[in-house]
Amino acid sequence: MTDTTTGGATGGGSGWHVPEEDLRAYARGELAAPLLWSADTHLAACAHCRGVLADVGDPVALDAGWERLDAELDAPRPGLLEGLLLRCGVADHTARLLAATPGLRRSWLGAVAAVLLLTVTVAAGHPAGGSPVLFLALAPLLPLAGVALSYGPALDPTYEMAVVAPTHGFRLLMIRTVAVLAVGLGLNGLATLALPGYGLRALGWLLPALALTATGLALTARLGPVLAPSLVGGGWIALLVTAEAARVNADDPLAPFTAAGQGVSALVAVLAAGLLVLLRDRFDAGRAHAA
């Protein structure tokens, strides 16, 4: 969009107006963002450009344009997370669904960051050579907890309204899971970068995190959103305690963080994801939360 100064400025007083070719594109509904946003804003305040638009556009397309302008003017200003998602190209309706995700609230993300900071500090205080056990043990639980916090009657205040809406429950669950998982894994990844002395061993949390999250979700279909992740989290801790008891040499990694353990985690993640897909209709029938 250029400064054309096509006559006396009746809107805004700056002398600037939307170029006629842009107004023609606007009238046809073909003007793309960000020019569209500029035109929308300017048209709201400029009678001159509205007059030009009325001359160049057909009435039906013009009505549609006004409707869009009306909707834009009335639209609420998106919050921090929603604005960020929109700037990343996420559709506005998906961004609104994600803005309502409990597992993406600042309070939760702050708690996750605090836990990671603590564990990284503990790990960094130990001499290199072993494994950052506390960090590797806790990091897989954080995405699991984040996803568990994002679905179900206990933690989602609008769950009851969401479950009777025509949007498939599984779709909503997956949208939220992908977002929470991406943020959770991102935070874990940043924490891993803070432990360069451990090399790739510090990434040993990744596959267990995927396995725990997928297993927790698959079991949620049968056991509900509280019991399932609690059992999975408890099982993970029991596994680590058992592995610790079975460890011969104190410098050896715990079994889940060995190559074989990582392979098992990958297999569990794939199997659980398959089971989750098979059970997807349970998230729609109002049964997933009943247990």
């Binding site: 009335d74 609420p76 506005d92 609104r96 989602d156 609008t158 009777v164 809406a165 949007t167 729609d284």
Partner: protein
């Protein structure tokens, strides 16, 4: 006339409790009141009809669609408006954002059309002027109206309202009754309530539920008529009455089987309701 909702033999157990026991009913256009004491199964019935929870036995259709199948359930949900007993809100959302969120869940993804619909329903419940306000800053009555606006998104043919007037002051309750009456024009509304005045003022039909079973299904006038000749006045509480209380006039109003020569009073809907519950629970033994 084809009923909007047709339910047959609905049963559901919660643990060892039979929350619904062989409930059958047919609902058509207008406001139907669902009365019953605490634990009668009202909320359970509403949640089943709203497809929030499936029944163990029995079946029902909404506007000809069977929610027993995945496709049928989705069709029912497209035609449903639901205001739960305790509607939850995302604390940081404005009224507009919250209703917009529900509109997205109701598959309105086109931004302009969705925002137009959000404005329409907020105007309909009288909240057009506060649509930009955070929900946590709204009064309890306004929050209920936001939840009603969310239920009205998409102009549903079947509206399920679970005790929407609980906790509202008399003025707010009256305002809400106006909105429910307005919502009942041309669509089927099922209204669960403890307030017999709500039913008397709003409903063309009333269903009384107790112990998970239907105890009465008819018009408010028919429910009131159940107490004809069974309400009387006395200077002392009549020990033979099923319920009796001192009125503001200082005399006792008794409900039950009157003694000979009793000073009979005009019955109300509440009298008929109390007599219908007789034997169905403890509520009558007041």
């Amino acid at each position: 006339m084809t009923p909007t909702v047709s339910a047959s033999g609905l049963s559901l157990r919660h643990g060892g409790t039979r929350a619904l026991d062989d409930v059958s009913l047919r609902l058509s256009a207008g406001v139907t009141g669902l009365l019953g004491p605490n634990g009668a199964g009202k909320t359970t019935l509403l949640r089943v009809l709203a497809t929030a929870v499936p029944a163990d036995r029995g079946s029902f259709t909404v506007l000809g669609h069977d929610p027993g199948t995945s496709r049928g359930r989705q069709e029912v949900r497209r035609r449903l408006g639901y205001l739960p007993q305790t509607p939850g809100f995302h604390p940081d959302f404005t009224a507009f954002e919250f209703v917009d969120y529900v509109a997205i869940l109701k598959e309105l993804t086109d931004r302009a059309a969705r925002h137009r619909e959000v404005r329409r329903v907020l105007d309909e419940v009288g909240l057009g002027g506060v649509r930009g306000k955070r929900i946590r800053k709204l009064s309890g009555g306004m929050r209920q109206r936001v939840a009603l606006a969310a239920a009205l998104v998409g102009d549903p043919g079947f509206l399920v309202l679970d005790e929407p007037t609980v906790g509202l002051d008399p003025e707010q309750r009256m305002r809400f009754r106006e909105l429910i009456a307005q919502a009942g024009e041309g669509r089927t509304v099922l209204l669960s309530t403890h307030q017999t005045e709500d039913v008397a003022m709003l409903c063309h039909r009333v269903v009384v539920l107790a112990g998970g079973t239907v105890r009465f299904d008819g018009t408010p006038a028919e429910l009131t008529a159940r107490a004809a000749g069974r309400v009387w006045s006395s200077t002392e509480r009549d020990p033979g009455a099923k319920a009796g209380w001192r009125t503001g006039l200082g005399t006792f109003r008794n409900v039950g089987d009157p003694p000979a020569g009793a000073d009979l009073l005009e019955p109300t809907l509440e009298d008929g309701y109390l007599l219908t519950l007789d034997g169905a629970g403890t509520e009558v033994a007041a």
